[in-house]
């Protein structure tokens, strides 16, 4: 019974959508997490995900507009329809998957790493660790023995390590790599990387199955012809990912 309702729903949605919507969708991102996504000096959304998103939209023949939204409210604003996709370095997790749907991944699972002031050699399991609120890293530290300090933006988590508020920061490896490189030896990686969360996928409303299918097809297509591999190499210091 439930299945039938679902099927008709999908069919109806498809019918109406293709009839009236001129294939324009809105892409929601955070715009504060280089190299995944950031706002460049011209004031436009830029970064790895900007290029991936634009490539996907081209393949799926969609007209895409980019919007930025604070990380805290990025999912509520998707489900209430302020934009149609989340493309913001969001790891695919079971918790999130209960509320929204994910496309297949366009970036492999990235280990999370700790960064501390250079020369730090304390025991991370009992340390004070900074993380961004409502990230997988924050819930990982909360359930470990370490002391969690939460900040609203990635920027503040790194600042907390610099000014001694926290011993270390836990975040995606690629985000921290940039920061460590630019710090002139002030900051350094420490401890072992931890694997939390799956790969990164695009978040889409559960009711929006049509868009999800389109995006999945587009992702498969940019994986197949090597476009994605090239983009990853471009934005992540030559990292090689085979699809």
């Amino acid at each position: 019974m439930k299945l039938t309702t679902l099927l008709t729903t999908a069919a109806l949605a498809t019918g109406i959508a293709s009839a009236s919507m001129a294939d324009a969708i809105r892409m929601g991102t955070e715009g504060a997490y280089p190299p995944y996504n950031f706002v460049n000096d011209a004031g436009e959304v830029d970064g790895f995900e900007r290029e991936v998103g634009d490539a996907l939209c081209e393949r799926a023949e969609l007209e895409c507009t980019w919007v930025t939204n604070d990380w805290d409210s990025i999912i509520p604003n998707l489900v209430s329809g302020n934009y149609d996709t989340i493309i913001a370095g969001m790891s695919i997790t079971d918790e999130r998957d209960e509320v929204i749907d994910f496309t297949s991944e366009y970036f492999p699972p990235d280990p999370s790493t700790y960064v501390a002031l250079a020369g730090y050699d304390g025991d991370l399991s009992g340390a004070v660790v900074a993380a961004q609120t409502s990230t997988i890293q924050a819930s990982y530290i909360a359930s470990s023995g370490a002391t969690l300090v939460e900040f609203a933006t990635p920027e503040e988590t790194v600042a907390a390590v610099r000014n001694g508020e926290a011993d270390a920061v836990l975040a995606d490896d690629a985000f921290l790599a940039d920061i460590v490189n630019a710090s002139n030896g002030e900051l350094a990686f420490t401890g072992e990387p931890v694997s939390i969360g799956g790969g990164i996928g695009m978040g889409i409303r559960e009711s929006d199955t049509e868009l999800k299918d389109k995006m999945n097809a587009a992702i498969a297509s940019i994986k197949a012809d090597g476009t994605l591999t090239a983009l990853i190499a471009k934005w992540f210091d030559g990292r090689m990912v085979k699809y």
Partner: protein
């Protein structure tokens, strides 16, 4: 899990007692109410500390502002202008950023019978740092209210007090100060409500939450984030605030009666 169990687990979670892990999946209404209520302890704490200390400091600043001596009135006026002229949100940010830049040092202060360690890093913790910001904020607003009331104290009262031989200190303490309070009380009640509401900004702006101990808004946004539904936790916290605002108004109304009890 029964609601009573939830209560024992989480009623004091905001202070770090009870169950360490916050609810993650299948979040019940009871869990939301208990945890948001637990966070309210911090809102009440901030309000009590800021209003309690701010009241006396504001009285001093108001008298300073009204003073004929320039070296007293100028700093008081500047302080009032700086604080009242800028948004609390930005004050929080700037003060926090300044506090984290301070060198992290500690002193031991020997009081003879007990030794107290004081550390500057406490300033970056919400319990001290945010309390200081709120204290300074309410002091400035209250001082302005008190200063306005001070100027409306009837001249006749002061002359009568002088006539029966009171000295300046006595006049200030027994005549001017109580009259000023009486005149300022309605506006001061409003300021207290604003300050209580402003405590919701503490963890929302700059001060980080340690080990997931935060105020009621911290937990409300935690639930809004976990359940992805803002329409349950935010009305709950709104209800809590309405309730406590009513309590605050009753308390101040009672104080007002006491201040005016000699008037028919």
């Amino acid at each position: 899990m029964s609601c009573a169990q939830t209560f024992t687990d989480y009623a004091f979670r905001a202070l770090g007692y009870g169950e360490r892990a916050l609810p993650k999946a299948d979040i019940s209404l009871c869990e939301q109410i208990v945890l948001i209520g637990s966070g309210l302890i911090w809102n009440v704490y901030f309000a009590v500390v800021a209003l309690g200390f701010g009241f006396f400091f504001a009285s001093l600043v108001a008298f300073g502002r009204a003073s004929d001596r320039k070296w007293l009135s100028l700093p008081a006026a500047t302080f009032i202008f700086l604080v009242r002229g800028s948004p609390l949100f930005i004050q929080f940010f700037i003060v926090y950023e300044t506090f984290v830049l301070l060198p992290k040092v500690g002193w031991d202060i020997n009081l003879g019978f007990i030794e107290i360690g004081i550390e500057t890093r406490w300033l970056t913790r919400a319990w001290l740092g945010a309390a200081i910001v709120l204290f300074l904020n309410t002091s400035a607003y209250t001082a302005q209210i008190f200063y306005g009331a001070l100027k409306s104290v009837p001249r006749g009262d002061i002359e009568a007090a002088r006539a029966i031989g009171m000295n300046t200190v006595q006049i200030n303490r027994r005549i001017i100060w109580p009259t000023m309070l009486r005149l300022a009380w309605p506006s001061y009640t409003n300021e207290a409500i604003f300050l209580f509401h402003a405590t919701a900004l503490v963890f929302f702006s700059s001060f980080p939450a340690w080990q997931q101990r935060g105020d009621s808004l911290y937990y409300a946004s935690y639930f809004a984030d976990k359940t992805f539904n803002p329409f349950v936790p935010y009305p709950i916290i709104a209800g809590f605030f309405i309730l406590f605002t009513i309590l605050l108004i009753l308390l101040f109304g009672w104080a007002n009666k006491r201040l005016n009890r000699h008037l028919s």
